[in-house]
Amino acid sequence: MPERRPGRRVVITGLGAVSSVGIGVADFTAAIRAGASGISPIRSFDTTGFPYVRGGEVHDFEPRDILRAIRPEQWGRSGLLAAAASRLAVEDAALDPGLLSRSRAGSVMGTTSGESAVLQDLSEQWVGDGLKSIDPGLVTQLPAGRIAAAVNSELGLTGDALTIPTACSASNYALGHAFDLVRSGEADLMLAGGADAVNRLTHAGFYQLGAMAEEVPRPFDTHREGILAGEGGAALLLEPLDHALARGARIYAEVLGSWANCDAHHMVHPDSASIAQCIRDAHAAAGVTPDQIDYVCAHGTGTPTNDATEVQAVREVFGDRLPPVSSIKSMIGHTMGAASGFGAVICCKAIEEGFLPPTANVVEVDPALGPGLDPVPGTAREARVDIVQNHGFAFGGNNVITILGRVS
């Protein structure tokens, strides 16, 4: 069994969100609390010929409004989303940017599809005039590692610039690794999070897998059909507790622990026993017990398979006393590599402001998911929240659970 490891206590003091329901953590949180929808007709590519044409795009993202150092034309959309979210997180933390860049600081950013919008442009050039015509400037923007590089470049960070392309649990994995870097003393300040962009290939692929909904995502609902692909950037600033206290920082939450495992079973079908083991190991790593968990921020994609598997795994650990389990993907769509980053952001705000984030679009909680499931339908509910559990699962069978708690 994992155990709580010695090391520095690590807290989250800054939050950044560039989402389809709001830019900046205040707007994002207000929209999530209200059960707002960020789903709309896709504009970033021509949807002619696609049976389903909706997604969770961030229509009003203007990189120049947020970014101060990097030039938007030199970076792909995913990197820009990550850098903007990170810049917003540093502002939210009221941390001197000069101190940050002089510190041993870096970033760990998750992604599913990397610079997918750049790939899309390159593939159009290939089809248009052949491989000989591809734009070398775009080629240099393609590597996934550019996402964390964008964050470090924007903030002037000289520490690790690591991108974690472990698909749809990648932000949670990034958060866990950034936590390890700070608690072990390898770094003092870290940005963790993730980014992805809506794109043609992801849209086509999820449609072909039969995992996409036509109109809206309805996690935990009897009539749920699947995901809608979303996009965005999410970032959290991690720092040692002592440092946060010394500078009088607002502390959202402490990272109590995290765990990652692999189903080693199937590329796209989740496994409830493996997820349940990941939850147990995350609890052990964080030094908490199931009865202490006030809220589960679910992976909650809204596919029939995911939600059934996820609820079954939670039952295996929690028995008949399930904490509230909700999915913010019901509002912003499945933001892929950013998804569990947005989950971690809303978990921090849930602890700070005292609410349970809702699941939108729930008309009837699926009775097949069993008794006692509370997805917090509709809008947020006021509640004291001290310890939360944030889920991320992915293609490849990658499960990552993070546990965040109030610092009292």
């Binding site: 002619t48 010929g49 150092a69 101190l99 002089r102 510190s103 041993r104 600081a105 599913t112 990397g114 790939l119 390159l122 593939s123 290939w126 089809v127 491989l131 000989k132 591809i134 070398p136 080629v139 393609l142 590597p143 996934a144 590692g145 550019r146 964390a148 590089a149 470090n152 470049s153 000289t158 690790d160 610039a161 690591l162 974690i164 392309p165 472990t166 390890d180 870097l181 003393g185 003092d188 290939l201 849209h203 086509a204 692929g205 072909q208 897998l209 010394a246 500078r247 990652a260 495992n261 692999c262 189903d263 080693a264 079973h265 199937h266 590329m267 083991q277 992915a394 490849g396 069978g397």
Partner: protein, 404 residues
């Protein structure tokens, strides 16, 4: 704690190019040695460390010429490919039909590593499989799969007509997931991307994960595949000089804590010591990138408990990269005063990008195996360096384990 320590080397980097950093943070602790207990290598030299060692010693190129169905579509660029690679020859047809070349190369390296471990009496037991995982370096995943399917959305009768059986290949953690599925590795399953530094990031990530108790054994390395789209990407950017070639392959190493391995009787092949990285991009300039890399080398030596005088081999990564090649060698000279025992893998294997760091480690091990140290001698030490146009820089220290 009221102030945070300054990042070592930053001030020196902007003001005094090519000088050592003024300070190396004094409280960065020495690292616990990790050991390599097994390896799987598939390269333009062939299968395993021995042909790679022979190729590097001979100084010639590995297998040249494009492979595969799009071989005729390559631009005029030198190529070092894995000769005659067909996945079904190694793993059979079952479950391999939809897999791409990148996944195939990695799965074969994984199989070689696990077979070698079994032969050495260090197989992954059922009990260990839940705490045995993967740390794989990549940059873009399979460029072939991604570009093929992205193209399909544009040229098929309907834009959604991508092959759902191939779609999972387009996620960048596909190989790591397939390794776990095929070989029952249920521990953490990480894929890491950091441009040319991806390979060193894999070793650094493995070190931190093992130190933090997140796994007991990790298969660590990198994999790249060649394809016409990837070749055109290299050709169009002009990142390589005219002597440069592009390459492919997979190099994987089973890594665990040295004390743990000793307690279980797992024979160490080499020790992995410190792996230090930094980011010196965003207009920081070439002087800053060179002194940033020098700072990483310096930190890696200090945390490994070795000095410049111990380094007998330097495995370089940026050979034939316009600009980067000089930066890398300048940084090494700034710290070591020379480039002792230089190994330039790119001559033999071509530019292997995110797999380069893993192949540099393979080259060091292959060289040591060709010329085993006598028992009782002072262990040889090697330095692996890496630097990328994006501003990433890093260094890893390896130490030989003389046979008893």
């Amino acid at each position: 704690m009221t102030t945070l320590a300054p990042e070592a080397g930053t001030a020196a980097g902007t003001a005094r190019p090519d000088t050592l950093p003024a300070t190396v943070r004094p409280d960065l602790p020495a690292v616990r040695p990790l050991v390599v207990t097994g390896h799987g290598v598939v390269s333009a030299a062939g299968y395993g460390l021995a042909p790679l060692g022979d190729l590097l010693a001979g100084g010639g190129p590995g297998h040249t010429g494009p492979q595969g169905p799009d071989a005729a579509d390559y631009p005029p660029i030198a190529v070092r490919s894995v000769p005659g690679f067909r996945l079904a020859d190694h793993l059979g047809r079952k479950g391999t039909r939809n897999l791409d070349r990148l996944t195939g190369l990695g799965l074969v390296a994984c199989k070689e590593a696990l077979l070698g471990l079994a032969d050495a009496g260090a197989a992954v037991s059922e009990e260990e499989s839940g705490r045995t995982g993967v740390v794989m370096a990549t940059n873009t995943g399979s460029v072939q799969s991604l570009s093929d399917l992205a193209r399909d959305t544009l040229v098929q009768d309907a834009p959604y007509m991508v092959n759902p059986g191939r779609f999972p290949n387009t996620v960048m953690n596909c190989l790591a997931g397939q390794m776990a599925i095929r070989y029952g590795l249920r521990g953490l399953n990480a894929t890491v991307a950091g441009g040319r530094l991806s390979g060193l990031f894999a070793f650094r990530h493995a070190r931190i994960a093992l130190d933090q108790g997140r796994a007991e054994r990790l298969l660590v390395g990198g994999t790249e595949e060649l394809s016409a789209p990837a070749a055109w990407a290299w050709h169009r950017t002009g990142a390589l000089s005219e002597r440069g070639a592009i390459g492919e392959g997979s190099a994987l190493f089973m890594v665990e804590d040295a004390e743990r391995a000793a307690a279980r009787g797992h024979t160490p092949l080499a020790e992995l010591l410190a792996c230090e990285v930094g980011f010196y991009g965003a207009g920081a300039g070439r002087h800053s990138l060179a002194s940033g890399l020098a700072a990483c080398v310096e930190r890696a030596l200090v945390r490994s408990g070795v000095t410049a005088a111990h380094i007998g081999t330097v495995a370089l990564g940026a050979t034939h990269h316009v600009g980067l090649e000089r930066i890398e060698e300048r940084a090494v000279r700034a710290v070591l005063g020379a480039v002792p025992g230089a190994v330039r893998i790119a001559d033999a294997l071509g530019e292997t990008y995110s797999a380069a760091g893993a192949f540099q480690v393979a080259a060091v091990l292959a060289g040591w195996r060709r010329d085993p140290a006598a028992a009782g001698t002072v262990p040889r030490v090697a330095l692996v360096t890496s630097v990328g146009q994006d501003g990433n820089a890093g260094a890893l220290v390896l130490r030989d384990v003389p046979r008893g």
